[in-house]
């Protein structure tokens, strides 16, 4: 299936881009992050992240479907 990934803040810098489309058979956001962390050396651990799919917060074990837009949300620091 095809997923659009969007990156923000520290993940955007570590990945070197804001958005990419990937082809994967991994079922959940947690699994996708584990693979990306290995490939790109992301410094954040998965337990530091929140997940958004199609602009909604979701649990990290939510089953993904083709066409989803997935965002890994680093620890926030507004204000």
């Amino acid at each position: 299936m095809q997923l659009t990934l969007k990156y923000f803040a520290i993940l955007r810098e570590q990945r070197g881009l804001s958005e990419e489309v990937i082809e994967t058979e991994l079922a959940t956001a947690a699994e996708v992050y584990r693979e990306l962390k290995d490939t790109h050396g992301f410094s954040l651990n998965s337990n530091q992240l929140r997940i958004a799919v199609n602009d909604q917060f979701v649990a990290s074990d939510t089953i993904l479907k083709s066409g989803d837009t997935l965002v890994f949300i680093p620890p926030v620091a507004g204000g």
Partner: protein, 142 residues
């Protein structure tokens, strides 16, 4: 309505949105860029937001405040982009008939935005180094 704002926050305009004939109280909060954080001299700050979700989550927080307290209005904006020392990064304004509700709701909104809304802050230090706040490489225990 919670807005992510790339240009300077117009405080007077937001304050005007809180005016109401029935309002006897108004509280506001402005978060400013300060020149020191955890002992390091700060030159400037960079804010980045996941705009769609930030505005959605921020708007939910304002709605929660309206449900929990007897208030007449609640508005908030958060800046993104490169900010200098003294710039206003966040504004929250609340009006109500009596002061207690406005104080408490304003506090709730500010605390919830800091806690839940996908906005990130990168500090640029006078030493030349930078850091994404709360994104240290390893998580401290606890």
């Amino acid at each position: 309505m919670f807005c992510i704002q790339p240009s300077p926050i117009q405080i007077e305009k937001l304050r005007a949105q809180c005016l109401a004939d029935r309002a006897g109280a108004y509280t506001s909060f402005e978060g400013w860029v300060r020149d020191l954080n955890e002992g390091q001299k700060v030159n400037s700050l960079e804010y980045e937001a996941y705009q769609v979700l930030a505005e959605k989550e921020g708007t939910s927080i304002l709605a929660e405040a309206r449900e929990r307290w007897d208030i007449l209005s609640a508005v908030a904006e958060h800046r993104v982009g490169h900010l200098a020392i003294g710039d206003c990064a966040i504004y929250v304004g609340v009006s109500s008939q009596h002061r207690a509700a406005a104080f408490e709701a304003c506090r709730y909104i500010v605390d919830s935005v800091k806690d839940r809304v996908p906005i990130w802050k990168k500090e640029h230090y006078t030493s030349g180094s930078t850091e994404w706040i709360n994104c240290h490489k390893t998580i401290e225990s606890g």
